[in-house]
Every structure is written in C-alpha cells, then in structure tokens.
C-alpha cells in the first residue's frame, strides 16, 4: 500500500551529493513530493528530509540505495505517525482588504498565522503546520485577493530517535564494520531490515 513516507538522510556536506541522491529517485521514476536540506545538530553533518508517496518495500530499497552512496552516513524512513513534522508557508495579500475585512483577521487567528511584513500595499503572513492546515488557509485567503503563496519543504524530527551523536561515534571509529558482533536482533528480521 502506498502512503506518505519521510526519509531522513544524514550525509557529509559534499558538492554533488544532492544530485546523487536525486538520481536514485528519478531513475526509478519516483516523484519527490518535498525535499529539504540543512545542517544538522552535528557539525559537518547535513540532513536531508525527503517526502515521497510509495509502498514500504520501495522505500526500504530506496534507503538502501541511498545508504550505498559513499558520502551518506545513514538513511532512515518513517511514516507520518512516527515523526513530528512541519512546513512553513507565506501568504501575500492586499493590505486594504485585510484592513477592511475583519473576517480575515479572525481567519488568521484561527490559523495561528503571523504578520511578517505590513506595507501600505500588501501584507505578508506566515504560518507553519501540516500541509492540510497550510492549504486550507490558502483556500480561505484566495477570495481576498491572495497575491502570492509559497510553501517550504517538510522538516521532520523522528519521534523515537536519540539524535545522531551516538551513531556518529560509530561511524568515526576506524574499525567500524570489521569485527563480528553477536546479533541481538535474531528473529526480529523486520526490525533489522527496516532502517
């Protein structure tokens, strides 16, 4: 069954890597719904947040291919239930309409939007939230002469991750992957296979 998955990728900060990662999707003709890249909490480690609509099997294989890239430290994938996520949006509307129509003000309160810029000719509001919330504010503003609208890519925090610091130590260790370790996951194949 296809559903929304958020892929979180920790990488080195390297020119060309965005392309390498994007190719993994385009080659399989998979559309990226949203893509954000930014520094992470760890110095020199970058974080990609990629949203796609696919089956779990496809997403798992994609993550393996992503992890195969030399500069990728780790790729995780999560369903929407497993993450806290936000998108940010900005809306530009004519100021005179805003000033005249009290309803708009109420609307903005209802959506928790803030004014970023107020000029005599237009006002810019911003809000953040899930896609549906952002979209419905846009729908609501449309009748009042919405001039411009922009939405950011998704950013997401994985609910039960302990950050990347610990994992990073493992990556920095010179002999990573060389010793044989006892497998504590035996019989829990699904868990081992999911990243």
């Amino acid at each position: 069954m296809k559903q929304e998955y958020t892929i979180t990728v920790y990488t080195e900060n390297q020119i060309g890597l965005l392309n390498r990662i994007a190719i993994i999707f385009t080659r399989r003709k998979i559309n990226i719904d949203s893509l954000n890249t930014s520094p992470s909490e760890v110095d020199s480690v970058h974080r990609f947040t990629i949203v796609i609509n696919e089956t779990e099997d496809v997403v798992r294989k994609l993550c393996r291919q992503i992890e195969k890239q030399v500069e990728v430290l780790k790729a995780y994938y999560n369903t929407n239930e497993e993450i806290v996520w936000q998108e940010l949006a900005m809306y530009k509307v004519p100021t005179d309409v805003i000033a005249e129509k009290v309803k708009v003000e109420r609307l903005l309160r209802q959506y928790g939007a803030n004014a970023v810029v107020i000029r005599h000719d237009y006002t810019v509001f911003e809000t953040s939230g899930h896609r549906e919330e952002i979209d419905s504010l846009m729908k609501a503003l449309e009748p009042y002469g919405l001039i411009e609208f922009v939405r950011s890519a998704r950013v997401a925090i994985i609910k039960n991750s302990a950050g990347f610091h610990e994992k990073l130590k493992e990556f920095e260790a010179k002999d990573a992957g060389e010793k044989v370790i006892e497998n504590v996951f035996l019989g829990k194949q699904e868990e081992v296979f999911t990243m």
């Binding site: 080659r27 393996r64 060389e178």
Partner: protein, 580 residues
C-alpha cells in the same frame, strides 16, 4: 609485447616532504604509490599537463595509447578483471571524457574497480561552455561508485587516495576524478602520499551478523535438496578456496552466473553448470525444485532469474553478499548473510555438517545427459558442413586445456563461449555481463593481457562487435599486446537475428551485416591471421594461432542461422527453459 621492468625503488617524491611539485606530478606519484604500473589512455588539451609529466615517468608507469577512450576504459576493465588490481584510464575533457561513459556504466554494473582520470578546462571557465567543456561529473554520476572534481592541486593526494580506496574496497566499482587544467599545472607543497583506509561515511563491508550465519547453517544442515548459485563476489572477494571448501564439505551442487564463471574449475564434480537465459538445463529447472537456495556473491540479475514471481518460490533463500542493497532487492532472502564471503564462508563452513547429496546431484547429472543428447552433441558435432560456434570453443579447449583467459564480446558467441569454454583457474573469464557492451572484447583483451602477461589471452568476438572497436588493432600493433582474436563470423548480428527468428516471425530487420576482409585489415595493422571456412582446417588454424609469437587474428566462418539453446524465453520462468 613490451613489458615494463618494474622499478622497485621508492616513488621519487613520496618521501620528500615539503617539496614543491605540480598537480600532475602528484597524480602520477599517487598512481605509483598505489602500485599501478600500467595505465591506458588518450591525450588532449585539458589533460596535457599530466601527459607532460608522464614523459618523465616512463620507467615507472607504462602508458598504453589506445585508439579511442572507450577502448581505454575497457582495457582498464580487462586489466582489473585478470589482475585483481585497479585499472586506470586517462582521458581529456569533453569528448574524451564522454567516450568513457559506456565503460564506466559497464564497470559499475559488473563491479569492476577502475579509476578514470579526466582533464577538465581551467576552473575559471567551468560552466561557461568553454571549448571542450562538458559537465563530466553530472554525466557520470549515475554510472560511477564515486566521482569528484578537483580544482585545486593541494586536494590531489587525498582525493586520489580516496578514489583508489573506494574503487577497490567493499563492492568494487568505477571512480572518476575530473581535474581542471589549472590544478594540474599548479605547484604546491607536497607532503607525501597517505593511502586511505577509512572514510567516515563509507562502510565498504557490512557488519557480519554471526547469528545469521548460524541460522544459515541450520537451514543448510536441514536441507534435502540444497543448491548453490555463485557469482563474481567469490572472485572479487578472493574467496575461491573458501568457496570450494564450503561446497565440498556440504556436498552441495553449485551453478555459476557468467561473471562467477571460473571461480570454480569447470570440471569440478559439484560444478553443475551455468545459470540463466542460455544456461544449462539442470540448474535452471532445479532452481525451482531445491529446498534451500544459497546465493553467493551474485545479484539475481533478470537474465539469471527469468520471471521473478515464478523464481524458486518453494525454496528458503540464503543470500551472502557484501552489498546490503542487494539483499531482498530482487529475491526475498530468508536469511541474509551480509559481509565479504571471504569471511562469511569459513564461518559457515565451520558450522555445517559434512554431507553428500548424491541422489540430488544425480538429478543434475541426468538432466545434463539429456541436454547433452538433445543440444550439446549436435552443437559439438553438427550434421551439416557449416561449423558451429560450440565446436570452435571445444577445439580451443582441447588445445588450451582450460588454462587460457577467455575474453568475450556480446552476442551468441558470448553465450556459447560461456557455456562451453573450460577453466581451471580463477579470473579467467572476462565478459561484459551486466551491460552487455558490444565492442568490449577487443580492448578488454588488450587490458587482460597486461593484467595477466604470462597467460594466453583469447578474445572471442562476433563479426558485429568486432567492427565496433576494431581500431584497437592499432594499439596491439604499436604495443605488441599478444592477444589471440577469434572472430566467429556468422554474417549476422546473430543474437538479434535469433530473437527475430523466435519472437518476430523471422522478420530479419537490419541484422544482415557485411564485413570487410578481416584478415586483410589485421594485416594492415601488422597482425597475422587467417580465415577458415572448412572444419578440417579448424584445429590446425587454432594451433597456429596459439603458437604464433604475438597477436593473431583467426576468422572462423560459422553457420549463419544457428541458435543458442537452451533458452529461457523472456518473461518465462527458469523451469520453462526450452531445449529447442
């Protein structure tokens, strides 16, 4: 063949800390430090500083001037496949670099360690559509394991160290380093060369999960009809001995993919033949009967599996692979054994019981007998006057006793050679398996000869494929690579014709290919040769070819409309393999 007397002394600059050298010199120092002695390449404006530096390194680095960059990279691949070392190729910017793309894709899919070094325009010209500027990094991203553009000479030692490490470690593959001309010229303080053995984000070999090895051993011990399928992973891991010990202890019949070919000697009693579309009858049919399928260093290519939803559905699958992305990619594994099979196989061998599976093995032998009667005998001893490809290979086996390196191109002759050529040594079969690149064999054979100078290298090529890269005869002429070339000439693009015959109602659309007089062409390049048309001359001609001092081209006229059988038609299950 001109071989290089290796100079064993230390690289000239490596110990001289704080010496000022150019980026180009640093490139060559890196190659020497990485133990490279042969490079293949073609010069041009953007790589001239490196070629200029090369002029002073003649005693340490042998450069083979090919006739086309595609030839250069295929030669580097051939070199890598017979020597087990990293193959190196130089090319200039723009058209030089784009000519490498086919070979990079070929090396990528066949996991061949190659480092390609391309020149690039001056850094300040990047992105301006300068003369011979091509965005090589973006073009080659999908077909390289890693690539990197150097714009500053100081980066060169570390980047090349990384390139070699990435190319040869884990699942090997091609790496491309694009170096701008300014970086080649630029002088910098050189502090010696440090090989690379760790990259933070890169894990060449996955952590071996011991419990999975145990689980795999349990399945194997309980199996009634276990079956091993092995691929190039065994050769790349240098695990031929470990592999043999494993199958001999467990008594499990083993079949090979065309890239796994020669990892186990052909005549080994447990070697039951070739898998896949033109593989042997027994291993294909019995794949769908075995109870435990043990895949070792192979990736379940669709040419091997046929229809996936009907592939080995009854079997528990144990998959040993160094690349975690291969596990479950095509065939779901019951137990994955991640890791280098050089390490995992001995662990597994230690845990399995010593057994014999005689009745089961006999099934393979019985089916081989059937195939022998219905297919092989007719191939080896055709009733007609027309020679068959198989009888040529058979005659070659008689003379080489399985000791030669066989390099094949792509087409019917490739399948026939892979089916019938005999091998007694590993790293003896060089073919373009994953990409199926016509034009591969002639340049790859040149590289193979440099990779294994003491061995007889025989290239087996179709009349179509030979005409794709025949200019490399010039390379043979100039450098004296003693390659034996057999052209199996059926006056057709045979493999395509076979498909047209079987699946397109014999509509032979543009497969009737005319050839020049190959022997005269070879003569023009100073390569001896002859053409044989009659069965009675075949043996003597092959003998003459093998005994000839130097390169030799032998054209053998074979039946025009012979087909390769058995065959698993596309979209069919491996059990539906057709014997005619």
């Amino acid at each position: 063949m001109q071989t290089l007397e290796l100079v064993k002394e230390k690289p000239s600059w490596a110990d001289k800390k704080n010496t000022s050298i150019s980026g180009s010199q640093a490139v060559l120092e890196a190659l020497i430090a990485e133990n490279v002695h042969t490079v293949f390449g073609y010069p041009g404006g953007a790589i001239m500083p490196i070629y200029d530096a090369l002029f002073d390194y003649e005693d340490k680095l042998k450069h083979i001037l090919v006739r086309h960059e595609q030839g250069g990279i295929h030669a580097a691949q051939g070199y890598a496949r017979t020597s087990g070392e990293v193959g190196v190729v130089f090319a200039t910017s723009g058209p030089g670099a784009t000519n490498l793309v086919t070979g990079l894709a070929d090396a990528q899919i066949d996991s061949t360690p190659v480092v390609a070094i391309t020149g690039q325009v001056f850094a300040h010209l990047l992105g301006t559509d300068a003369f011979q500027e091509t965005d090589v990094i973006n073009i080659t991203t999908p077909v390289t394991k890693w690539n990197y553009q150097v714009t500053d000479a100081t980066e060169i030692p570390a980047v090349l160290a990384k390139a070699f490490y990435i190319a040869r470690s884990g699942r090997p593959g091609p790496v491309l380093i694009d170096i701008t001309k300014n970086a080649q010229i630029q002088k910098f303080d050189y502090n010696g060369y440090e090989p690379c053995n760790h990259i933070r984000s890169y894990r060449p070999t996955p952590i071996i999960r011991k419990e999975y090895v145990e689980e795999a051993a349990k399945l194997i011990n309980a199996a009634e009809k276990p079956f091993v399928v092995f691929g190039q992973g065994v050769i790349l891991g240098g695990a031929e001995k470990e592999f043999k010990t494993f199958i001999e202890k467990t008594g499990i019949p083993a079949a090979w993919t065309i890239l796994g070919l020669s990892a186990l000697e052909t005549d080994h009693p447990l070697n039951v033949g070739m898998l896949g579309m033109h593989g042997n009858y027994g291993p294909n049919v019995l794949t769908n009967e075995c109870d435990v399928l043990i895949a070792i260093g192979m990736r379940f290519d669709d040419r091997v599996t046929g229809r996936l939803d009907k592939y080995a559905k009854q079997a528990k699958v144990i998959h040993l692979d160094i690349d975690p992305a291969e596990i479950d990619k095509n065939v779901k594994a019951t137990v994955p054994v991640w890791g280098d099979c050089k390490e995992t196989l001995p662990m597994l061998t230690a845990l399995v019981e010593k057994k014999e599976h005689n009745a089961w093995l006999q099934r393979f032998k019985d089916m081989m007998k059937e195939e022998q009667m219905l297919v092989i005998d007719h191939e080896m001893h055709p009733a007609s006057d027309e020679m068959s490809m198989a009888e040529v290979i058979d005659a070659l086996n008689d003379l080489t006793k399985g000791d030669a390196v066989i390099v094949t191109d792509v087409g019917q002759h490739q399948m026939v050679a892979c089916r019938y050529a005999k091998f007694i040594k590993s790293k003896s079969n060089v073919t373009s398996g994953g990409l199926g690149t016509m034009g591969f064999a002639l340049p790859a054979a040149i590289g193979a000869k440099y990779g294994a100078p003491d061995r007889t290298v025989v290239a087996i090529i179709g009349d179509g494929g030979f005409q794709m890269t025949l200019q490399e005869l010039g390379t043979i002429m100039q450098f004296g690579a003693a390659v034996k070339i057999i052209i199996l000439n059926n006056n057709f693009l045979g493999m395509v014709r076979q498909w047209q015959e079987l699946f397109h109602s014999r509509r032979y659309s543009f497969v009737d290919i005319q050839s020049p007089d190959f022997v005269t062409i070879a003569k023009g390049y100073g390569v001896a040769g002859q053409s044989v048309n009659d069965r009675k001359d075949l043996k003597a001609a092959l003998k003459e070819m093998l005994e000839h001092n130097g390169a030799y081209l032998l054209e053998v006229m074979v039946g025009k409309e012979n087909n390769v059988f058995p065959m698993v038609p596309q979209g069919c299950s491996v059990a539906e393999i057709r014997l005619k």
